[in-house]
Amino acid sequence: MITVTAARKHYGSFLALDDVDIDIPSGSLTALLGPSGSGKSTLLRAIAGLEGLDGGTVTIDGRDVTAEPPQRRGIGFVFQHYAAFKHMTVRDNVAFGLTIRKRPKAEIAKKVDDLLEIVGLDGFQHRYPAQLSGGQRQRMALARALAVDPQVLLLDEPFGALDAKVRTDLRQWLRRLHDEVHVTTVLVTHDQEEALDVADRIAVLNHGRIEQVGDPVTLYERPANDFVMGFLGSVATLGGQLVRPHDIVLDRDRTTALALDAKVADSPGVITATVERVVPLGFEVRIDLRADSGERFAAQITRRDAAELGLHEGETIHARATSRSTVVDHDPALAI
């Protein structure tokens, strides 16, 4: 369990952390999600002790480590750009934490080989980091961090430097690894898809503040505000309210649309709009619409629904939010 209380951090006049409180339960995989400059990396580095705080405390498993240097916090840290020891072989990289603790050679060798097998780098023991791909380097960095049996594993945008395909593979691999190893893990990311894919808890940060903490489903379906809703998934503005594009129902017939509308308590009602563009996205089709009020928004419907409607550009259509849709009042001040 990691507890951060009233954490504050300034960089000159820039407020990176503004009285942040967060509990990270033992064994969880928590994502700190936010745009750049939101303070997520600063928070992670403060937990690691790589960044000092101006105020507040950090405890790890009940031990106040606020004044401890990173060496004595029992952490493993993985950097976006791998931070590999370039002059050492893969084996020496992974063994580093154990070697400096002067563990017996046989114990080190066994542990390193076990870890390299877990991260899928068995047989790469004698390679140098320069001879590995980005994904392999990051897995080596992960094995290196895990070698010292950290109480918490901290990952700072670990997949940010990798290309899209490797990134998805590696985060699913990380998820499986976490299910095996169960070490409390905190992952910093700006990619909402990555957070939803990997984490069992997500903390959304903005301007040095935590906007909401919760499991992915809660955050997606019951966002606390505009910002959280906008950051986790796409949104459409429908009659002054934020709605998920796939929660918008389109109907050619105004009366059936209105009849259904009665069941929706706080829905924005039925909007009449003109079809501007029909964009096939594979399984779904995005319909770009312009409301009579001039407001532009997009709806996302399945391919079959789109085929049934048979929409064409320039046609008029009636749109409304479905009865179970996620709706947040639009506050322009919070918008991203």
Binding site: G76, F79, K86, P129, A130, A147
Partner: protein
């Protein structure tokens, strides 16, 4: 004719980056260069219909290679060849006698010993100075950074006078290094100061701080991090700076001529011995010892090359 046109274009291209900074009409100069480039390219296609052979950007034309070869021959190789011929003008035996004369051996020994000490001291202090200049912030840092090169830029005889006035017979601080090996060491330390500093500094600036943070997160103390993570990264730069300092030290004359005292077998360095042999009209001896110095310097640079290429192969710089 065609090749001439291309060559002149090559020269034009190589000249343009030099003329660019400072020239205010930058856009204009670029368009002219481009225009010439187009012309050259179309002339370059030998057979119509085939695609003109495009050179990769940054490759060197035969003319460039020719100039470099000629320059190195005239400036470096020819004089060295002349020296070697002079050294062997009395045959191999004459060369060997000249080099193994007791006074010559003593002078070479003093030179190598003192230079080695100077190089090792430089390796440590130079790295430290570079570290402070890159990692620490203090008032007057830019000034300190600027004066590092001063001992190197100063005429060496001036350095000798400076040191003599401080450590000589009339030393104001009562430290007398005149005509001692300590005097030689101090003089050589003075003139070789910038070598290690200037070779380590850029590497340290480029060094990835996250690597050090990674070591810290794994439990390494600052000293362990420095020794096991930072030092291996700096090692090639330290080594090359040290090698250059050593090579400079073995050939140094001006800065040691006054403070060294020129005492045979004690403080007489090889360059002073060479000077002495010329004065007493023994040019073969002078040339022979010069060739010995040349061999030592060459061996030093060769070792540097080998070590540098080995480390480079190991950690190809990317990512």
């Amino acid at each position: 004719m065609t090749s001439n046109a291309i060559d002149s274009r090559g020269a034009e291209h190589s000249a343009s980056p030099l003329s660019r900074p400072g020239s205010s009409g930058r856009d204009a100069s670029e368009t002219t260069t481009d225009g010439a480039g187009e012309g050259g390219r179309s002339r370059g296609s030998a057979t119509p219909g085939t695609t003109p052979k495009r050179r990769r950007v940054g490759t060197v034309r035969p003319l460039g290679i020719g100039i470099v070869t000629l320059w190195l021959s005239v400036i470096v190789l020819l004089p060295l060849a002349a020296l070697t011929v002079a050294a062997f003008s009395e045959g191999w035996a004459g060369f060997w006698d000249a080099v193994t004369a007791p006074a010559a051996i003593a002078a070479l020994w003093v030179t190598v010993l003192v230079s080695a000490i100077v190089a090792v001291v430089n390796a440590v202090t130079g790295t430290l100075i570079a570290w402070v200049l890159v990692r620490d912030d203090f008032r007057g840092k830019r000034f300190v950074n600027a004066i590092i090169d001063l001992p190197f830029a100063l005429p060496t005889i001036v350095a000798s006078i400076v040191l003599l006035s401080l450590y000589g017979p009339n030393s104001p601080i009562d430290v007398h290094l005149n005509a001692t090996r300590w005097g030689l060491i101090v003089a050589l330390l003075f003139v070789t100061l910038p070598f290690v500093v200037r070779s380590v500094q850029p590497v340290l600036i480029e060094a990835d701080r996250e690597v050090e943070e990674a070591a810290a997160s794994l439990g390494a103390s600052s000293w362990t991090t420095f020794r096991r993570v930072v030092l291996p990264t700096l090692a090639p730069a330290i080594l090359s700076g040290t090698g250059l300092a050593f090579a400079r030290a073995i050939g140094e004359y001006g800065s040691v001529v006054l403070i060294g005292g020129n005492i045979p077998r004690e403080t007489q360095v090889a360059s002073q011995y060479i000077q002495q042999q010329i004065e007493i009209d023994r040019p073969v001896n002078a040339a022979a010892v010069s060739v010995a110095l040349l061999a030592i310097a060459f061996a030093t640079l060769l070792v540097l090359r080998v070590v540098a290429s080995r480390t480079q192969r190991r950690e190809e710089r990317d990512a």
